[in-house]
């Protein structure tokens, strides 16, 4: 189901995105890895997966918050891979702070990348999905978008928005064979959660530990193969948001 398909993974050079790239490549997908700044890391994951799994991988630098840049990048990917079957919107940033003192730039930056970035990617990939009469979108949201998180109003709002986007796209495109789901990771061991080490919520994870990027990647692979699931938000959070 994944073998031979072409996937785009945004934010694919590090953290959860990198684990998703490795997982999809290990199952035989060809992967276009979109990265914002870490060219060396993106190149490295492509080379490593190509050698290890024999898949075709290529890194593309693109700021997903830029509508026009996304259009051009998707067109380039189409030219080089032929089409796209799987889109994983993983690119995300945090600019944590208290809402009472949060500069508007921190709100805009987070919404622009996390929410608009996913919108832009879906906007420009949907034509390809409609042509193929198949497509699978997985948006990486967050438990912050489900239960809120003090100090992360901007991030939580962007992720809650992403869940609304997921369900709307799922409804809009279901009749065309296009599925759209979200994953809501909890606290996953990445660079991004370093700032959360003091979060009291960490002690209330029922499974008693942080998650691993590979555990989120496993859920992505599951949703990509789950033909009868659309509009779902799958928590991968050790039970924290149940």
């Amino acid at each position: 189901m994944i073998r031979g398909k072409t996937a785009i993974v945004t934010g694919g050079s590090r953290g959860i995105g990198r684990a998703i790239v490795e997982k999809l490549a290990s199952q035989g997908a060809n992967v276009a890895v979109i990265y914002a700044g870490s060219q060396d890391l993106a190149q490295q994951v492509c080379t490593q997966c190509a050698q290890q799994y024999g898949s075709e991988l290529k890194a593309y630098q693109c700021d997903v918050s830029d509508y026009e840049a996304v259009r051009q990048t998707v067109a380039q990917i189409r030219k080089e891979f032929g089409t796209v079957h799987i889109l994983v919107n993983n690119a995300g940033i945090t600019r944590d702070g208290l809402i009472a003192v949060m500069p508007r730039e921190d709100l805009d930056a987070v919404i622009d990348t996390n929410l608009k970035g996913a919108f832009h990617m879906i906007r420009h990939c949907t034509g390809l999905f409609l042509r193929n009469r198949e497509g699978c979108i997985v948006n990486i949201a967050s438990v912050s978008g489900l239960m809120g998180n003090g100090g992360q109003c901007n991030y939580a709002a962007s992720k809650a928005g992403l869940i609304g986007l997921t369900k709307s796209v799922a409804r809009e495109l279901a009749s065309k064979g296009v599925r759209c789901n979200a994953i809501a990771p909890g606290f996953i061991e990445t660079d991004m959660t370093r700032s959360q080490q003091e979060n009291p919520l960490l002690t209330s994870i029922p499974l008693g530990r942080m998650g691993k990027p590979e555990e989120v990647a496993d859920a992505v692979a599951f949703l990509v193969s789950a033909d009868y699931i659309t509009g779902e938000v799958l928590r991968v959070d050790g039970g924290i948001a149940m």
């Binding site: 034509g127 409609l130 042509r131 809009e172 009749s175 065309k176």
Partner: protein, 73 residues
């Protein structure tokens, strides 16, 4: 004029007789909803070999024909 190309794809898609499709035929009357119209456009792009941005409302076969002509022009 892309009327024939459009009519051919619409006929294939809906199973209606190509002779019954006129420039003034509305997509909705042919059983084609707005998302189907977008999909139709994607197929036409491949057939005609141009990229068309659907940035305005098209109600009839003739509307779509004119839109493509204006983009190609």
């Amino acid at each position: 004029m892309y009327f024939e190309a459009i009519a051919k794809i619409v006929a294939e898609r809906t199973g209606c007789e190509i002779a019954n499709i006129q420039p003034e035929s509305k997509f909705s009357e042919l059983g084609i909803d707005s998302l189907d119209t977008v999909e139709l456009l994607m197929n036409l792009e491949d057939e005609i070999g141009i990229e068309i941005e659907l940035d305005q409302k098209v109600e009839t076969i003739g509307d779509l024909d004119r839109l493509i002509q204006s983009k190609k022009g």
